[in-house]
Symmetry: C2
Subunit: 462 residues, 2 copies
């Protein structure tokens, strides 16, 4: 099917563009309840397209607290039971468009300027999910792909909603997937696609220090009153040294070194230390000097305080010694750190750092382990060649310092080979006014997915 489908993709670019614009015009803002009907309309639009393309489609309102927008689950098993299954993830919901006055053209009316379509959701994620939808349509219209297809598309990505995680957990047995394409990112630079080989996990804690039974006046009791804020400072300063090395016992024991192939790719990336300092607006970088800045951001664990609550938070002066104070402290975790083991070590260590008269306790607010997609499963080479065919360049292997919760949900429920990448470009202004998406990237993205289907033809099952 490949050559015919590719030819059709090239011949029907106007149609591809018109389709994307139709989807963009539906203002499916998941955060705002007045757009609930629009979210459903976007879901129905996608479900209709996939149905007409020949897939078996379900629009699922997942029961449970917090679920608001339907999941689209589509399936085509025409490649037969021996063929591998490629699933494609995406989300049809978008960020709110505020501030409206900063848009140069209306956020839900696609406007093409200099080869980019400007609109909310044009990149994130409608323009990328449309690559998958169009590729499926074209493949199915031209003999069908050599792999089975599945779509798992949600409408709560921008609000962290529970529907899709709940759905894949519940239906895992019926959602067998060998390869999962998550295209919700950007190229590293124009002409330089990437594949994500890992994402850091997150352990988020709250450390509470409790001193006196009530707030005290520092004039009356200063000198004998335990001060939980001072104690928290002692605790926090003992967690990470001044050079950025974390001092929780055993913290680094399970950290896995990145593969040579990854490190080599990172060295080649067009991102200098100066670039990173400029991007942050800092005079110096923090952290472990023996690791490159990219390695520190992608493959080294961190510990950061996000806020300290308690006492006096206003303008001016107040001489309170608070009865209690809390610090929000999170750790970014890397393969193969175990969140449970890290939390236990953290909590025990924190407990040992209290000062006279103060009780210190750590509580886990959430945790998720790091994701390793692997650099050597057969999908990597299939995707690399697909990128090369469609864009003329092979992807670099990169990582993400943050977590993409859905990758964890998929990995835990379905254990597929993950292909985490993206068709956007740096500067697409996701979540900001004048979000944009390159039409050339879009058209090539459709071809990339077609090539990927073809390249996975004889790929082993996961």
């Amino acid at each position: 099917m490949l050559e015919q489908a590719l030819q059709a993709a090239r011949d029907q670019r106007e149609q591809s563009q018109a389709d994307l614009f139709e989807l963009i015009r539906i203002p499916s803002v998941s955060a705002l309840s007045e757009h609930d009907a629009d979210c459903r309309r976007a879901a129905e639009w996608i479900a209709g397209r996939l149905t007409r393309a020949g897939m078996e489609v379900k629009l699922v309102d997942v029961p449970g607290e917090g679920s608001r927008h339907p999941v689209i689950a589509a399936e085509w098993t025409g490649a037969g039971p021996q063929a591998p299954t490629l699933a494609i993830y995406g989300h049809y919901d978008v960020q709110p468009p505020d501030p409206l006055e900063e848009w140069l053209s209306p956020p839900f009316e696609p406007s093409v300027r200099d080869g980019f379509v400007y609109a909310r959701g044009s990149d994130d994620n409608k323009g990328q999910i449309a690559c998958g939808i169009r590729a499926a349509e074209l493949a199915l219209a031209h003999g069908g792909p050599p792999v089975n297809l599945r779509f798992l598309i949600e409408g709560e990505e921008e609000v962290g909603g529970p529907s899709l995680p709940e759905f894949v957990k519940r239906e895992a047995a019926r959602l067998h997937t060998d390869y999962l394409l998550i295209a919700d990112g950007q190229f590293t630079a124009p002409g330089l696609p990437n594949l994500l080989t890992g994402l850091r996990g997150l352990l988020y804690t709250e450390v509470e220090a409790t001193g006196a039974a009530a707030d005290l006046h520092s004039g009356i009791y200063g000198g004998v009153a335990p001060n939980p804020l001072n104690t928290l400072a002692h605790v926090i300063s003992a967690l990470k040294d001044r050079d950025g090395r974390i001092t929780v016992p055993g913290f680094y024991d399970a950290v896995r070194k990145p593969e040579e192939r990854e490190l080599a790719d990172w060295q080649r990336l067009p991102v200098t230390e100066d670039d990173q300092m400029q991007a942050m607006g800092v005079p110096a970088l923090e952290g472990e000097a023996e690791f490159s800045p990219l390695e520190r951001r992608w493959a080294r664990p961190t510990l950061d305080v996000h806020g300290i609550l308690g006492g006096f938070q206003g303008q001016g002066q107040k001489t309170v010694i608070p009865a209690r104070a809390k610090a929000k402290i999170s750790m970014r975790l890397v393969p193969d750190q175990d969140p449970d083991a890290i939390f236990d070590a953290f909590a025990e260590y924190v407990d040992s750092l209290s000062t006279p008269g103060v009780r210190v306790t750590a509580r886990r607010l959430s945790s998720g382990r790091a994701v390793r997609t692997g650099t050597d499963h057969p999908g990597v080479e299939a995707a690399a060649r697909a990128f090369e065919s469609a864009y003329g360049g092979r992807p670099v292997l990169v990582r993400e310092g943050g977590s993409i919760p859905v990758t964890v949900d998929f990995q835990e429920a379905l254990r597929p080979h993950l292909l985490v990448t993206g068709f956007g470009l740096p500067g697409d202004a996701l979540h900001s006014p004048n979000e944009k998406y390159s039409l050339d990237q879009y058209f090539r993205g459709i071809e990339m997915v077609l090539h990927l289907m073809e390249n996975l033809r004889d790929a082993p099952r996961a």
Copy 2:
């Protein structure tokens, strides 16, 4: 005059009580503008009494921003230019009475139960200033006291208003005072009066740590992003060690040891370490173990964090690395620490504690030096004997851990010998519902002031 005035004081207790109740019934709440007229009424009531007693009285609306309630300045120079002058300080304003529902009797309707009068302001400070007013009336009615008299009474004590400080600074040359009685406190225990020999000063600072140009996401930049909150923890933990010893270079150099006479008195006080732990509700006291808890509270300097601003202060989780963060840090100072020198040492030290990529600066919000009233000026013995005559017990020498700003204002402007004490009892519930004041303490307080006038007859000028 003494014997006659004392006799009159005893004979006219009903009159003294009626006078106090009249003053209490005026709801002179300085914090609430709807009571502005009441504050003026209270001032006029006192001014009228002192005028009728034979003093020259001015009701002064001090010009300047924030001034709201008049100062009463009264003078009687009948003892002649060679005689010392005793000034009496007090304030006619009171705290708001909320929460009203917790009062067992109306807050501005004096109610006598078990020898106590219950009302807002009964102790703080109307019942104590009334001792001075009644004593002046009785002394002037019976031949006049052997010392010249002055009253300096304000209506902004409970709101930290500027009128009185401004007035004494401006009129210093015309307000010569040898001895100044400030009765706005409580006995150490029933039967155990006290004299304050020192008050700690206060240096209040804000330490700001600045990292990136904007808030950063810890997933993306964690590992290389300077985190001002972590840096502040390093700074704060380096200012005071885990045992409560302040580590700012030179911080203790100028600290003056309390006098033997003071230390001996503190040892005799009926206040155990357990009492103090119970009062605060803590399992252990913080601080320098080689000093007694009272010495730590009264004669040792402190360093406390009152609040840390910046980053995420809400419920739940957010993974921000804030661009900047601030800590409110104050130091209680003791004789003879110089606030300027301490701030300079603090700021220089703080600056040296920054971490890579973070700029740390300290700013002084306010400062005031500690007050030493002295243990050996002639007023101390005069007051001690006056207490003994009126109450049957000599006062202990104590200190106050907090500052009473007016003492600094008086000391800087007038340089008098200070007699800082009080006629209330522990448990009088100042600032709380059901504030009360012992009528016996009141009647004896009038006699104490009469004795004090007599005892100062031949006291040297300040």
